[in-house]
């Protein structure tokens, strides 16, 4: 045995002498490097560069004073005291004790007062009770939900629809379900707050383009294309989306959808369309901005809308192809981790959809009223009307701003109070100034519904004119 071992050793020594020089040098360097790493490298632990003694910690803990949980709110903060509505928020609304004509609720098709809708909701209440007591995955799926989803999909002529129990949460859960860290989203500057929260939750790169400016968008897309050519491997896995609204709630104008579809196919980006204000308003049958422009609905990857405006219920839905929508059933946070929509509200939405399907005349009536109001509100001295003629929710902004947002808001509030005294209900559009990315200028919201008569409109316009002449000189 020993002889054998010795023999192996001799061989080793021989090999050592026969090895080329570079080999030996390389091995030597490697061994020295390993020795250095093992024994001589400085371990970097940031928290241990200095260690506090227990006494020092106690002193710091004693000294530390937190800020108050919330900063104090001044008594005359505009959003502190809400206007109280007694009774139903219908066409004749009792606000702060005064009965007024409603120009402020988003009740575009007048379905809040509909007896048919109420009867169906009551029938559902008598069958199912009020709450669902669980999320969709755990015995919270009712046959009413499935029916509403299939009705919505049929109405919009898409493959599938998914409903959420809260309008705000719809687009705010849909965007992060598809777009993750590293993806790119191109958004219009005037996007509403729920879209902004969805973008924030997605952690993707956000690129804003100027409102309705397709050239600006194309410029951004071209820049992105150049970036992609520099790094094709990364570009193959980076998803790109455009998020726009059909009718913008903040500026009351419409997005140029055919142009967007052209850009979609040219630069290979997907489109997410938010149709809260345009669903049940635009188009011959109320199917929204795709019908208005005659765009094929399959060209839009995802349409999201809430059912709280024209449909006069609560909640929201997304519709599109099954390939896209089915994903949200497992990754939409507001869908999986939240209780489902109460069945009576779903039944009310189904009935509202039926009314919309049976009577498409209602949309042309609404369109006529909108242009009537748009016409009448032109030329009020001191106020300028913002919005397209077929938008049902218009904004009245100050022609000349005083420079200070709070004094502008106070002026507008006094106009609104004046109108309330004369039995016309209006409201100042409210925003979270510090949280919004691009705060819209202060404005009064004027909402057109099918229930308003010619006299109502004339009276409202004359009240506003009167108030403007008193307060804005």
């Amino acid at each position: 045995m020993a002889a054998g071992q010795q023999w192996v050793l001799v061989e080793m020594v021989q090999a050592f002498y026969e090895a080329p020089a570079y080999h030996l040098i390389l091995e030597g360097i490697l061994i020295l490097w390993i020795v250095r790493l093992l024994f001589f490298s400085k371990t970097y632990k940031p928290h241990e560069t200095y260690k506090l003694t227990e006494k020092e910690k106690e002193d710091l803990i004693e000294e530390w004073q937190p800020e108050p949980l919330v900063p104090p709110v001044s008594k005359d903060h505009p959003s502190l005291n809400y206007d109280v509505v007694t009774g139903p928020p219908s066409h004749k609304i009792i606000i702060n004790g005064k009965e007024c004509t409603n120009f402020a609720s988003f009740n575009f098709l007048g379905l809040l007062d509909s007896d048919r809708v109420k009867d169906k909701a009551l029938a559902s209440l008598k069958k199912y009770g009020v709450g669902t007591c669980g999320p969709r995955g755990f015995y919270g799926t009712f046959d009413v939900h499935l029916e509403l989803e299939s009705r919505l999909a049929k109405f919009m002529r898409t493959e599938e629809a998914i409903i959420y129990s809260y309008g705000f949460a719809t687009i705010a859960s849909a965007i992060p379900a598809y777009s993750k860290r590293g993806d790119i989203i191109f958004v219009d500057e005037a996007a509403c707050f729920s879209i902004q929260k969805g973008l924030q939750a997605s952690r993707s790169f956000i690129k804003y383009f100027k409102h309705n400016d397709m050239e600006d968008l194309e410029r951004l897309l071209k820049e992105q294309e150049l970036e992609d050519q520099k790094n094709p491997r990364k570009a193959r896995v980076t998803r790109k989306f455009i998020v726009v609204e059909g009718l913008y709630i903040n500026t009351a104008d419409v997005c140029p959808l055919p142009e967007l579809v052209r850009l979609k196919y040219k630069y290979k980006v997907r489109i997410f369309l938010e149709e809260s204000m345009s669903f049940g308003v635009l188009g011959e049958h109320g199917k929204g901005v795709t019908e208005h422009f005659g765009v094929n609905i399959d060209d839009i990857d995802l349409i999201s809308a809430n059912m709280e405006n024209a449909v006069a219920s609560i909640g929201g839905f997304c519709c599109g192809r099954s390939f896209v929508i089915d994903h949200q059933r497992l990754s939409g946070q507001g869908y999986c981790f939240s209780a489902s929509l109460p069945p009576m509200l779903a039944a009310a939405a189904i009935e509202a959809l039926s009314i919309m399907e049976e009577d498409p005349e209602i949309f042309s009536v609404l369109k006529r009223r909108c242009s009537q109001v748009h016409q009448a509100l032109q030329g009020i001295p001191g106020l300028k009307l913002v919005g397209v003629p077929f938008s049902p929710a218009l904004h009245l902004q100050l022609e000349r701003s005083s420079g200070c947002r709070s004094s502008d808001l106070q002026l507008l509030r006094s106009i609104v109070d004046h109108c309330l005294d004369r039995h016309v209900a209006l409201t100042v559009a409210r925003y979270l100034e510090k949280e919004e990315r691009f705060v819209p200028p202060p404005s009064i919201r004027v909402v057109v519904t099918v229930e308003q008569t010619d006299e109502d409109i004339q009276k409202a316009v004359s009240c506003i004119r009167e108030a403007a002449s008193i307060f804005l000189r």
Binding site: D83, A104, N107, L125, Y139, S165, D298, R430, R445
Partner: protein, 551 residues
């Protein structure tokens, strides 16, 4: 010889006693027992080693099969039911990465029939399910048109049994629908603030024992929209490991630094607090603006109750603020149903922000936040929900008002007290029964959420299906809602359940498929508690000793 055997048996007993009761069953005895007015007993029995190994093996086999099936689908040997991208968009960047959906395609799809079961009646103690069949292994479902009647509902969050379509609450909701309609079509800030909302908020404040409160239309959104309004950059959020997705989302959206402490572990929380205050913000070492501790009342996947007296003691010592999410515990805990604060007999003013939902114990929908007047005034002006989201539907608000009045006893009857008592009796009875039968049950002895451990992936599907065959509807959860080897079935006890229903449920867990009740076998071998083994040993040794004493 008798003596020798007796000594041997006693030694055996004591050795098993030590091994089983103290080493393998970890009982959370409260270290600061002086803060607790009654015993706090939670248990999370450790996963047996054999079971853990088998579970990993099970997942391994499933993964291999998954790759094999993907391969077959790729080469069109197996028919592919997955939806596809449009032809015109085939050259777009793929919307989903293949590996993201691997779990969904290959594991979730196989047992998908256990979830999203549609129902067509009130989600009460017994529920009617819509029967559905699948002809292609769960890829698509068809409704047969038949209804499975009177399934015992152990899955809905119906703690106090207010999910009903007749009675005082339903009549009040009907009247409100006639008076107000269903929708509101505006935000709280603009013209959506109805008088019924104000009434609701005053009632909730009175119920909780706080100065003021505010109600929102969705429980999930209450968290995700209000935490960002309260904290921001430069603040620290200390959140429990197992917090709900809405709390995690709210904390992320706020932009604060988030640090996670081990589940219900006060030492971990204290260490984080001390380190945070001593070292300040990361890198700049500036002092934190505020520190917010976010905990839940009952954790719905574990069934554990937060150690509130200790958390409040820590919060007072280190001047932090406490955000308590009582989604499951409001109405379900405490002698008066006022939640976990009532359960421990503490002062509601110690909790800075009391949040909860109306979905579970009140049979409605929505959430609330209660606290001091300054806090609520601030939220009225700065909460995302108050300014941008539609307010709560009037009949839903009325349902909450009526059910809350019943719980408080203000409707003049004792129905509220009766239901609260019934719930706590049912909880105690059900938990004790399951534990005696030898199942591993997680959580606190008083929590109406009862997780029963299954561990193996195959048992998740099998348990759900077998229970449904025997007319019991349960909820089973696996990865990713729980850690990968800790899959479980979750029962939600309700005040509407009768003793007979609970007996049926617990006995069914033991029945053999041959439905021979005398043959005390196991359906799928889910009885794994070591305590049952030790009890068996006790029984055997005791009986041996008795025999020997007789001899």
């Amino acid at each position: 010889m008798t003596d020798h055997m007796r000594v041997l048996l006693t030694k055996l007993q004591s050795r098993y006693c030590k091994k089983c009761l103290f080493a393998q069953i970890y009982q959370n005895a409260a270290p600061n027992s002086s803060l607790y007015k009654k015993p706090f007993s939670e248990s999370f029995e450790e996963t047996p080693l054999l079971v853990a190994v088998l579970t990993y093996m099970g997942y391994g086999i499933l993964t291999i099969f998954g790759y094999f099936r993907d391969f077959l689908r790729h080469w069109n040997i197996e028919k592919c039911h997955i939806a596809h991208e449009r032809e015109q968009q085939k050259d777009f960047v793929p919307l989903y990465q293949d590996f993201e959906n691997f779990y969904t395609r290959n594991l979730y799809m196989r047992i998908r029939d256990n979830w999203n079961r549609p129902i067509c009646s009130v989600p009460g103690a017994k529920v009617d399910l819509v029967e559905r069949v699948t002809h292609n292994y769960n890829w698509t479902f068809e409704h047969t048109g038949k209804v499975v009647k009177d399934v015992i509902n152990m899955g809905s969050y119906n703690y106090l049994g207010f999910a009903e379509n007749a009675g005082a609450c339903a009549s009040a909701a009907i009247e409100t629908t006639h008076a107000y309609g269903v929708g509101v079509a505006s935000t709280r800030c603009e013209i959506g603030n109805l008088d019924i909302h104000e009434e609701l908020e005053q009632l909730v404040a009175r119920f909780l024992g706080v100065e003021s409160s505010m109600a929102f239309g969705m429980g999930f959104a209450t968290n995700s929209m209000n935490i960002p309004a309260l904290t921001g950059k430069g603040c620290l959020i200390l959140s429990d490991e197992l917090n709900h997705a809405s709390l995690v989302l709210g904390a992320r959206l706020s932009g604060s630094t988030i640090r996670v402490f081990k589940h219900n572990n006060m030492q971990s929380l204290e260490k984080l607090l001390r380190d945070a205050i001593a070292h300040g913000q990361p890198r700049t070492h500036r002092p934190w603006k505020k520190i917010l501790i976010v905990v839940e009342g009952i954790y719905s996947m574990e069934g554990s109750i937060v150690r509130l007296p200790e958390v409040i003691a820590l919060k007072k010592r280190y001047k932090a603020y406490l955000y308590l999410d009582e989604a499951h515990s409001i109405g379900a805990l405490g002698p008066n149903g006022r939640g976990v604060v009532d359960y421990f007999g503490l002062d509601p003013k110690d909790v800075d922000i009391m949040m909860g939902t109306f979905t579970k114990s009140f049979g409605a929908a929505g959430g609330y936040i209660g606290g001091r007047k300054e806090l609520i005034d601030y939220l009225r002006c700065h909460s995302h929900s108050a300014l941008y989201a539609t307010s709560m539907s009037p009949p839903v608000a009325q349902q909450i008002i009526s059910s809350m009045k019943i719980i408080m006893g203000e409707d003049g009857s004792t129905l509220g007290m009766h239901r609260l008592r019934q719930l706590s009796e049912n909880t105690t009875y059900f938990r004790r029964k399951l534990r005696e039968m030898g199942f591993i049950i997680y959580g606190n002895d008083d929590s109406p959420v009862v997780p029963l451990m299954l561990y193996m992936p195959a048992k998740i599907g099998a348990f759900g299906r077998e229970m449904l065959k025997r007319n019991i509807g349960t909820v089973v959860v696996g990865f990713p809602a729980t850690p990968i080897i800790e899959s479980r079935a979750r029962f939600c006890v309700s005040a509407a359940h009768t003793r007979e229903m609970l007996d049926t449920v617990s006995l069914v867990n033991l029945q053999t498929p041959s439905s021979d009740p005398l043959h005390d076998g196991r359906v799928m071998g889910v009885r794994r508690s070591r305590r049952s083994v030790s009890q068996l040993i006790f029984y055997l040794t005791d009986s041996f000793m008795c025999l020997h004493l007789c001899v």
